[in-house]
Amino acid sequence: MKTFRIGGVHPAENKLSAASAIETLGLPKQAVFPLSQHIGAPAVPCVAKGDVVKVGTKIADAGGFVSAAIFSSVSGKVAKIDSVIDASGYRKPAIFIDVDGDEWEETIDRSEALVKECSLKPEEIVEKIKNAGVVGMGGACFPTHVKLCPPPGSKAECVIINAVECEPYLTADHRLMLEKPEEILVGVSLLMKAAKVDKGYIGIENNKPDAIKLMQEKAAAYPGIEIVPLKVKYPQGGEKQLIDAVIRRQVPAPPAIPISVGAVVQNVGTAYAVYEAVMKNKPLFERIVTVTGKSVTKPSNFLTRMGTPMSQLIDAAGGLPEDTGKVIGGGPMMGKALMNIEVPICKGSSGVLIMNDKEARRGEVRPCIRCAKCVSACPMGLEPFLLSTLSAHNEWERAEKEDIVSCIECGSCQFTCPSNRPLLDMIRLGKSTVMGIIRARSAK
């Protein structure tokens, strides 16, 4: 069975909510939409205080080419445009909407019926995706239409769908595949058509045998789509790791991007969002969020309107357990510990993980024993111990030479370190500093 070649680790899977069917979560009292839910320029509000909006009304325009529009997930009145503490822990501008009823825009097709036929041209599909504010649903939130417009000189050869869900605990993509397989496959066909390729792969790790089986059965009717079962290894869901695992090609160091080796990688949730955007005229305003944790009464997968506070999801899953140590937005490997559980669900919120006290505590930091486990674990072939030391000593030039910007921040090094050293913390800091230096240099 296939997997990526360099490094990787095997964290405990803990897929507690894999058997819980997707439930629709109730409406929040107030929905909050941060303006930067995606990579790129923040969106620009196109509503004002007091405006009445419906479900699916555009409330913010894309702020540039690499940006995405934001749509209301509720109907009601715009209460204010103010700031809210988002997952980063800092105040960011956001639109607040007081919910009143549940009235949808008439253009949205709310029927459950599967629509397969699409007569649109590739450019029209990309335009529709763009106009629906679709971004990568895996967590990085890169605007999807940008990925479908390859830079001049590069040509896509295949679309790879990331259905790996290598993060422990999270099951949102797994449930989506079990419950909406046909919709996903239509979405993949649309993505293939938009990228002008006739080959599509869906990579699924073999810890989801039911999903592999179901998808294989359904995919038979869709020409060009192949299901690729993959050996379980973290971080297989990383874009570059997935390309290596599925088509055996390695993406060179930045500024090379996946399209340089002919691959367009999209998340399975994105494929579903593309289906809804193109076939049902439904912009991106809801997503599936896993709420899980060892002490959680009812680990669940919720179909959640964006802007819902995380506290509402936690309550629906049985409330915050008493022994809570940390609440994490996302999975345990790449997610971010939250300062505040009123943080709204955004386009990239794949899960809410509640860690108990024991699990959450970090071990005592001890000196590096030069075991080089981090070097063997790094899926990018970097030297994490070195990069973290360079960052700690502000040696930015050397860190750049050691290719710190190639780090995908998967956390395998820190996970594997027997001395509990905060490797990723330091590397992240170094990476963002070095990227800032590079940007400043190229701006000159």
């Binding site: 105040r91 510990a337 800091l429």
Partner: protein, 298 residues
């Protein structure tokens, strides 16, 4: 016997040849270095703190000698005394400089600024700043991991375990600015030491709007502007919801300290206020009560 003789003669010859080559090379490739550079370097404190803006003490010495004037040059660690000595060596005029000191502009102690979460990541302010908003609701104040303490080469800044804030030892601080660079939130500022070491400054860097800042910390600046109105010397400005006292304009009258409803303005090294000043202070206290609410309106 022959063998020894041959060895002595051959080694002696090699030595002689090498000596000649070295002599010629040292004459031909000699680089003239102004002897004053070494003299100047000698009077510098050799802390290599970089506070002067040059790469170490020798770099500063070279710059002083080569520039031919001491304009705009100051060794913060050696202070005015070192500059006078350098001026004497070089036969130049040292620029008069005011002694300066590092000032920590955050008063968010554990008591004033409640901790709402616990940060257990890498113990570095830089990392804490990049990964989360810190342990309190204030996204601008001190993170308390002590990057400034680690950066100080003069043992002049220490964390106070009670308040969780760094404290500057005025005697030891040379105002080299290493802590300013180390602080990711730019809380520390280099300010003139002031007459008799007396200083008045806004001990807050919170740029949030009044109500948000008010909730986060008991002693946050809420940009109500009372100090601006009170100041007779136009030394105070409010920008981005934060007041700032210009040390060059401030005449240390302490009127602003008295009117600040949040006690965000701090005056240090002043004698206790005289009893007769109490009356206007009490008046100010009365006046401030209703106005605490005022900044909420936006």
């Amino acid at each position: 016997m022959d063998l020894i003789l041959v060895a002595v003669i051959s080694l002696g010859a090699i030595g002689l040849i090498a000596a000649v080559i070295l002599y010629v090379a040292s004459k031909k490739f000699a680089v003239y270095e102004d002897p004053r550079i070494a003299q100047v370097a000698e009077v510098l404190p050799q802390a290599n703190c970089g506070g002067c803006g040059f790469p170490g003490c020798s770099g500063f010495a070279e710059a002083c000698v080569k520039a031919g004037s001491l304009e705009g040059k100051l060794c913060p660690a050696g202070g005015q005394a070192a500059m006078e000595k350098i001026a004497a060596i070089l036969g130049l005029q040292a620029e008069a400089s005011e002694p300066k000191v590092a000032v920590v502009r955050c008063n968010g102690s554990c008591e004033n600024r409640p901790r709402i979460v616990k940060y257990d990541g890498a113990q570095s302010c830089k990392v804490a700043h990049a990964t989360c908003g810190g342990e309190t609701a204030c996204a601008f104040g001190c993170l308390g991991c002590g990057d400034c303490v680690k950066a100080c080469r003069f043992d002049a800044i220490h964390m106070n375990p009670e308040t969780g804030l760094p404290e500057v030892d005025e005697e030891k601080c040379t105002a080299c600015g290493a802590c300013v660079k180390a602080c990711p939130r730019v809380i520390i500022e280099i300010r003139p030491k002031g007459k008799n070491n007396r200083r008045v400054y806004v001990s807050c860097v919170n740029k949030d709007k009044g109500p948000v800042a008010m909730k986060a910390c008991k002693v946050s600046c809420i940009a109500c502007g009372k100090c601006v109105k009170e100041c007779s010397f136009e030394a105070i400005t409010v920008e981005n919801n934060l007041a700032y006292i210009d040390p060059n304009k401030c005449r240390l009258c302490r009127k602003c300290e008295a009117v600040c409803p949040k006690n965000a303005i701090v005056a240090v090294n002043f004698p206790p206020r005289k009893p007769k000043v109490e009356a206007p202070a009490a008046e100010a206290a009365k006046a401030e009560t209703p106005k605490v609410e005022a900044p909420k309106a936006e």
